[in-house]
Subunit: 185 residues, 2 copies
DNA sequence: GTCTATAGGCCGATAGAC
DNA sequence: GTCTATCGGCCTATAGAC
């Protein structure tokens, strides 16, 4: 989470646990398996938080705002976890996986797609209802995800940071996203 | 560019050149120096392309649209280079640099700040002129950069991709960004 | 200027004591 | 279940031949 997958050794992980490699390899067969497990846990959390918001009966505008707001809060509250999620793509892109790992990786990429589709569907519905301007929902979702996931790059909690500051950031991001896609009033 | 900094060996770099390690180490004292040089070249290119657009005499709206459009094109035309740029942040975040490298890294981070400030200044000017809604220019710039830089994660050129497809993507992104910040008409 | 050869170190993974 | 010890391999970087 702190140094990236490739740059982190199992010894470092063990140190953080106050243990040695032996313990880590008792629970995980390989470094990749460990990464996959963390990735799966993180994505499961994200989906369980975001799905109810995406599929509620409220109008597309409200759903998108609550999704973006909650998404931003997720990044700020679980920054290391969200960083891992973004590293998952890198691992996927590099193609540096062995054959048996590829199935697990495929499962994780499927979860990523589910997550992204929550945004795509809300955008498509909003375009159809006239709430949102005519846009390609898939490109729109990529852009929304970009604005929000990019927080993992620049956001760093300050020691004296108040809950109000985080609220303000989440609100700004959600407003940005809503304005980007809504139909001109 | 393809596998990430940590996961790429100098042997791999040499292979791509049809050479061996010896040649690489004749030109660069260390792997980090090589990375820094690529990073500097990439950022210099970005700044030289984007600065004229950001500082032209046109209204903030036009400048922002041309910046976003060109930025998107930069990502699509120089995908590996832009990926390297985003990895620079990771290296910065991890703090895994030795003392002598820290000065060079600081220089690169200064160039990153200059690049980001191009957006911050245009946004601030647009807010002051009433072209853009009341927003925090720094947060707005982060969001804009997120939407655009996130392209390095999802964009992958298709073999049969036409220039029109790229134009459409760049236009969609630029429209997204403009709508996100402009004042309600 | 480019190569081969290799030093020196770290890392992923395993074996086996306790 | 956790440890120590270690293997084998890869990687950064250097030395020296050509």
């Amino acid at each position: 989470m702190a140094h990236g997958y490739a740059a982190t050794s199992i010894d470092t992980v063990a140190d953080a646990l106050g243990a040695t490699k032996g313990r880590v390899y008792y629970y995980y067969r390989s470094k990749t398996d460990l990464f996959f497990d963390i990735h799966r846990q993180a994505m499961t959390m994200n989906l369980s938080v975001m799905r109810p918001l995406a599929t509620s009966a409220r109008p597309p505008r409200d759903r998108l705002v609550s999704m973006a707001r909650t998404h931003a809060m997720l990044v700020m509250d679980h920054l290391p976890t969200q960083r891992v999620l973004n590293q998952g793509v890198e691992l996927h892109l590099s193609g540096r996986t062995t054959a048996p790992q590829r199935d697990v990786l495929a499962e994780l990429m499927a979860m990523r797609s589910q997550f992204e589709r929550l945004y795509v569907d809300v955008l498509a519905e909003g375009v159809a209802s006239g709430d949102f301007r005519a846009l390609d929902p898939r490109l729109g979702a990529k852009s929304v995800l970009g604005a929000l996931n990019w927080m993992t790059v620049w956001y760093s909690p300050r020691p004296d940071e108040s809950a109000e500051t985080r609220d303000r950031i989440a609100d700004e991001l959600a407003t940005f996203v809503l304005h980007a896609v809504r139909a001109a009033p």
